[in-house]
Amino acid sequence: AQSVAQPEDQVNVAEGNPLTVKCTYSVSGNPYLFWYVQYPNRGLQFLLKYITGDNLVKGSYGFEAEFNKSQTSFHLKKPSALVSDSALYFCAVKAGGSYIPTFGRGTSLIVHP
């Protein structure tokens, strides 16, 4: 079985400040981890993924995420938030042998001017 937890329904941050959106996972074996962003009335857009290798992965729009195996976490980060980053963010996990990812419930990121 595989599962994802996004413990915060909403994250508020001021423009220019660093942001973190949290994600923890549970999976048998090595995980494949993904972050997606969803704007209103749109589908999900891929931001970044961790498969293997460096624990810090960089993705689109200046986002990065850190894989922490001991804490089973894959938190999304950005050094300086933009108002345009305001959206819904979804973490997803897939076991190595599975075709099907499991998505978290999502975290609403609100960046204040």
Binding site: Y32, F34, Y36, N41, R42, G43, L44, Q45, F46, K49, I51, F90, K94, A95, G96, G97, S98, Y99, I100, P101, T102, F103, G104, R105, G106
Partner: protein
């Protein structure tokens, strides 16, 4: 290039009617997924195709839901005798291959409202 296209974008139907939702994946993408997304929730898996083969339909909520991808490209999700609880956004996603590390490319969804 063209992304994943879904039609219609919005569908309103009366309870008991049948509906059909269409997905045009990115050309050449082998894998195709259907998800149901309720308001304020993440996507919930419905079914998965690899080319024309439906490899997993474990997420379909009832036998009123049926999906097909006869030629390995366009896919249709059909819901028979719709119920109010079927109201949701239905998302389609495709990916290039079958490997676990492939990211998914999503369409903008069909918002289904059952009256």
């Amino acid at each position: 290039g063209a992304g994943v296209s879904q039609s219609p974008r919005y569908k309103v139907a009366k309870r008991g009617q049948d509906v059909a939702l269409r997905c045009d994946p990115i050309s050449g993408h082998v894998s195709l997924f259907w998800y149901q997304q309720a308001l304020g929730q993440g996507p919930e898996f419905l079914t998965y195709f690899q080319n024309e083969a439906q490899l997993d339909k474990s997420g379909l909520p009832s036998d009123r839901f049926f999906a097909e991808r006869p030629e390995g490209s366009v896919s249709t999700l059909k819901i028979q005798r719709t119920q109010q609880e079927d109201s949701a956004v239905y998302l389609c996603a495709s990916s290039l291959g079958t490997g676990g590390g492939q990211p998914q490319h999503f369409g903008d969804g069909t918002r289904l409202s059952i009256l």
